[in-house]
């Protein structure tokens, strides 16, 4: 792997994380009034000046703003992301608890959507202009245009409420209080959120793959393969598919940010106790530290996805040294 490229990627990730932290710092300082005066006044209607001064000295709030900033930045790297207003515990603890639940629905949805999107997209692009292609394309555009929150509500109404196939929300049955959490029960609750996220994500992957396939299908080596008398299936499998899939690695990581957005709505609607639902609760309570922690973890998530794409790319395409502007 190209050293300079790796360095660039690390610098970019580092800068992104720092900017996210800086935004947090700026917002906290921009809040009207200072924390301790507001807090004391809300309890005692009076803030004794010596108490305020002691508080500011103990917590370093009387230091120069630049020193405060660097302390804050350093703390963020050490994993000290402040305390949540509503949960009264460190932000990172709350996030750690919820992250697992988000991954339980996010990972299967992403994997299924990627596989299905690539498969259907490749088929659609290969058979371009056919009835199947036109139907698939229009169907996908249609699904993509439906807002994710609306899609989630409709799926909930149809599959959970009217057909009664799956639970209406939550992550376990109330019987779990007595018997403990049953993985099958959780899976049963996860089906609809996963389905919604899948539908939300598959359209994007489909569209990208179809475009990629359209480009590939017009290449000369495909014509050459056909001229050699290879049958269509072999051309598709051995020549077209492999090449069309190359740009997908980078494009799919771009979809990651979209999945985060989707999960906020989906989890809220299905009462799934993950990061998305946590975001909704933090918004309702105006819990700024918690919201900022969520922004940081989402940033780390995107960074991880980018690095994963960098590592996967050379495996998929041995010709490409990462760092060539591919």
């Amino acid at each position: 792997m190209n050293g300079i490229y790796l360095l660039k990627r690390l610098a970019t990730s580092f800068a992104a994380f720092c900017i996210a932290v800086t935004i947090m710092f700026a917002l906290l300082r921009l809040m009207p009034g200072d924390y301790i005066t507001m807090y004391l006044e809300s309890i005692y209607r009076y803030a004794p000046p010596d108490v305020v001064e002691t508080f500011n000295r103990v917590y370093g709030l009387d230091r120069p703003i630049l020193e405060q900033y660097f302390t804050y930045l350093l703390d963020a790297f050490r994993g000290n992301w402040g305390y949540s207003f509503i949960y009264k515990v460190p932000v990172l603890t709350v996030i750690g608890e919820k992250l697992v639940w988000t991954l339980i629905i996010l990972l299967p949805a992403t994997i299924l959507a990627t596989l299905a999107g690539i498969g259907i997209g490749a088929y659609s692009g290969w058979r371009r202009g056919s009835k199947a292609d036109v139907g698939l394309l229009n169907g996908m555009i249609f699904i993509r245009a439906i807002p994710s929150y609306w899609l989630a509500l409709m799926i909930l109404i149809i599959f959970a409420y009217y057909l009664n196939l799956f639970p209406l929300g939550g992550y376990v049955d109330t019987s779990a209080l007595a018997t403990g959490i049953d993985p099958f029960d959780v899976a049963n609750h996860a089906v609809l959120p996963i389905l919604t996220l899948f539908l939300f994500s598959v359209t994007g992957t489909y569209y990208l793959m179809r475009n990629s396939m359209l480009m590939t299908a017009g290449e000369d080596y495909i014509t050459t393969a056909r001229a050699k008398g290879l049958d269509e299936l072999t051309i598709l499998r051995k020549h077209a598919l492999k090449n069309a899939m190359l740009p997908m690695v980078t494009l799919i990581t771009l979809e990651c940010a979209g999945m985060i957005t989707g999960s906020i709505f989906v989890e809220t609607i299905f009462s799934w106790p993950g990061l998305g639902m946590l975001t909704y609760k933090a918004l309702a309570a105006r819990d700024l530290p918690l919201l900022q922690g969520i922004l940081l973890i989402d940033t780390l998530f995107v960074i991880a996805a980018n690095i994963a794409a960098d590592l996967i790319y050379p495996l998929v395409d041995p010709r490409v040294q990462v760092g060539d502007d591919a």
Binding site: A16, A20, G129, V134, P147, W150, L153, L283, R286, L288
Partner: protein
């Protein structure tokens, strides 16, 4: 291709119809959307075309007034995003060198920070109002268009007519405004349509999550209120379904418009016929 023309015409028709409804909202809507009109939760009848909600407000009037918020969010946001994105793309691609490198690295960093959570924080922090949300979406969304515009400008900047104009003594500003900009306008137009669609969904999503100006009627708040108050379980379809359908329809129209335009200007995709 008559079928494509039909879809295009329908999309244009829907967008224009929404604009007309937004402009004529006071004329069309039978009631003030905030006013109490008759009994709460009454099903549709001739006085209330789509019934009333739990506060006895007329759902149809809310739907009509909500068009304004939706269009403002989408079009203001998209205008800002496209203007900034296009300007940055043109400057970056035209000058190249250090400026280009700086813009690209900045873009790498900006694209790593997920926009939606950031938008949530900023709108929560500042007092959420419809214009503020539109401007914030425009600013945060402007990064996405830069790369596409830039790559187009890269090839335009070395074209003969640009070199010729420069030989005639034209300044950089003049060349960028009169010769480069027209070349990227179609791309910017497509970006405008897709951004408007995207921002409408996001803006209404914010309303759904409860961060908007409560004095403005928007469909997100309507959906949120209906779903939070059991409209689904009680079978109050007239309260829950119309705002969602309204968003989906305008979103679909803009999506089709966007794909049709993209198809038109991108020759490599022209093989696909919608």
């Amino acid at each position: 291709m008559p079928r494509k023309k039909v879809i295009l015409a329908a999309s244009f028709g829907i967008v224009f119809a929404y604009c007309a409804v937004a402009l004529l909202a006071p004329v069309i809507a039978p009631y003030d959307p905030h006013a109490i009109t008759g009994a709460p939760l009454s099903p549709p009848d001739k006085d209330h075309l789509l019934g009333t909600n739990d506060l006895a407000q007329d759902v149809f009037s809310g739907l009509i007034w909500g068009t304004r918020a939706t269009l403002l969010l989408g079009f203001i946001g998209a205008a800002i995003a496209v203007a900034i994105g296009t300007a940055a793309g043109i400057v970056s691609g035209y000058y190249g060198g250090l400026i280009d490198e700086a813009v690209m690295r900045l873009l790498d960093v900006a694209m790593t920070i997920p926009i939606f959570p950031l938008l949530l924080i900023l709108t929560t922090f500042f007092r959420p109002g419809i214009y503020l949300i539109a401007v914030l979406m425009g600013l945060l969304g402007s990064f996405q268009g830069v790369r596409v515009i830039r790559s187009q400008v890269l090839s335009l900047a070395v074209a003969d007519f640009v070199v010729g104009t420069r030989a005639l003594g034209a300044g950089d500003g003049y060349i960028m405004a009169r010769h480069i900009l027209p070349g990227v306008l179609p791309l910017a137009g497509v970006k405008f349509v897709t951004s408007a669609q995207h921002f409408m969904l996001i803006g209404i999503g914010l309303g759904f999550l409860g961060i908007t100006d409560p004095s403005v009627v928007d469909w997100g708040q309507m959906i949120n209120r209906a779903s939070q108050n059991g409209a689904m379980v009680l079978g109050l379809w007239w309260w829950l379904i119309p705002p969602g359908l309204a968003v989906t329809l305008i979103s679909l129209a803009l999506a089709w418009l966007g794909y049709a335009c993209e198809d038109e200007i991108n020759p490599r995709l022209r093989v696909m016929r919608i």
